[in-house]
Symmetry: C2
């Protein structure tokens, strides 16, 4: 089958079909390029070699045991953390943090920029017919955005600031909108702000307008260390700063302001796909506006180049 | 009256009696030296000049209005954050974080290393007769220790690690003991560990014994930046690291592990005195064991020198 692979450099190649006797084989329809994929190709994700890609949907091609036959032909995606089921974290219900986990397209496991992908049966998630193909591509990042609400109770009276205007910031804003909280999104690009305003979200480009120490909750979704410091300045005493981005480099930090102002910092990563599917079924957003460009799998290198341009949001690779 | 004052250097001096027409005058009995006081004398608390000291008890000498006459002669202490009552934080119930606050002996307000101290009436806290004088000296730091339990729910099944073996670490451990949580205290001094063991608390000196990523809650109470990093290593995914110390210097930090492991970092500072008084009344600890040395006020300079020795816990200045 055709696939994109990263072994020090990103290449298209002819790969053997994945074959894992206890797993399920999915024929991939489409997969989105995420910032983590770009970081992989820049060598920022140490130790990964193989096929990247973890935001995808496709159709079940074959199953390991007859008991799973009903899944054949179904439209599905897959939770990205593949747990061992035996370690102390798995035993405590922390399987997304399993000590021995592989992660689809990120840690020791081939991903979705290929015609087929093999995944553990327990990771497979059926996509209801009411959810469009385009919306299906956002189940994984929507789950990550919704994870915030599993960690922090967000109420209508809360003043919330989202730092960033990229894809993740948009998904965070869209998932927070139903809470009724008083929300602002602060970014750097007028056109991205306009896309949010078109969806009824208060989006700003000029951050100087935003006062310090007034927000109950600040969500850092820009990936910039400067935004981390800005978030600390904007959150009010006893408020919460949610860290939704990782950073390539360390930076100088003095937690005194965290202690004196009794700030809560919460790291937030992946979320439950069930929450994302429930959100898509209930709110019926059309996330197609976030898709800037599409490329066939054989043009995967060009797709990655396009995804790194400043004027795009999501770039999708169509695998069949 | 005699007092200790810090204006670039710490001196004993003859001060006029404090006189503030709307405040209450307390004759100070005793006051404990806290690490913050030592940091003030090292110039680490920018802008403070005056009389330090904020852990104290005394007897009400005079009151501003007849309505307060019943307080005269009563044994009291005072909440250290003096709020304006008018700013946006005060209006939101965040008076301990008041934008215009003074802090007794720390920010723009004279403290307790003196024969008399003047405090706002609303800050005065009556000390019940069931609480000994020695225990009364620990109301302020006990309130800070108990603040942790206002921020984090601590249950019997939780594995808790306290980093540090100083006064604050001891108070944190003593206040956590009634929760029934599975607690370890990790310090550097065998004699301080033994004092904890004498009180039924599991205290370790050799930190190498402690596994990584197993604690639901880690409390950093040592003031060492190395312990901050250690705390991040010891807490398990989705666990909580409580920052109870401030640090003089910034250090290099990469929040990636906070995000990937979904750690919650909580800054924790002062607490409610009512909670400390309730703890002392209910648990009836004898905190005298934490008092290493006592000095009269006129030997205040020697008291500060003693408080900076490695072999002491709390040093108390007797002001009358």
């Amino acid at each position: 089958m055709n696939a994109l692979q990263f072994i020090k450099i990103l290449t298209t190649f002819e790969s053997p079909l994945p074959s894992s006797p206890r797993e399920l084989l999915i024929r991939v329809s489409s997969a989105g390029i995420c910032n983590t994929d770009i970081e992989i190709t820049r060598g920022y994700v140490p130790g990964f070699s193989g096929i990247p890609g973890h935001e995808f949907f496709g159709y079940v091609e074959s199953v390991p045991y007859p008991v799973h036959n009903r899944l054949i032909g179904k439209r599905v995606t897959a939770e990205i953390n593949c747990a061992c089921g035996n370690c102390s974290f798995c035993n405590q219900g922390l399987s997304r943090h399993c000590r021995n986990r592989t992660v689809i397209g990120i840690v020791n496991r081939d991903g979705a920029f290929a015609e087929y992908i093999s995944v553990p049966v327990e990771n497979v998630v059926l996509i209801p017919d009411t959810i469009s193909d385009n919306n299906s591509l956002f189940i994984e990042p929507l789950a990550a955005a919704l994870e915030i609400q599993e960690q922090v109770k967000i109420l209508p009276e809360h003043e919330v600031l989202i730092l960033g205007d990229g894809k993740l910031a948009h998904l965070v804003a869209l998932t927070l909108k139903p809470t009724g909280c008083r929300m602002k999104v602060s970014g750097r690009h007028e056109w991205k702000a306009q896309l949010l305003r078109d969806r009824g979200i208060d989006a700003l480009v000029n951050r100087q307008d935003i006062p310090d120490r007034v927000f109950d909750i600040v969500i850092e979704a820009s990936g910039s260390p400067a935004a981390f410091q800005e978030g600390l300045a904007k959150v009010k005493p006893r408020g919460t700063l949610v860290l939704k981005s990782t950073y390539v480099q360390s930076f100088s930090f003095n937690p005194a302001s965290v202690v004196v102002n009794e700030i809560t910092l919460i790291g937030s990563r992946c979320g439950r796909f069930a929450a994302a599917i429930a959100f898509l079924e209930k709110e019926r957003p059309d996330l197609s506006y976030l898709i800037s460009k599409r490329f066939p799998l054989v043009e995967g290198i060009a797709a990655f180049a396009a995804a790194q341009q400043p004027d795009v949001m999501k770039v999708v690779i169509d695998c069949r």
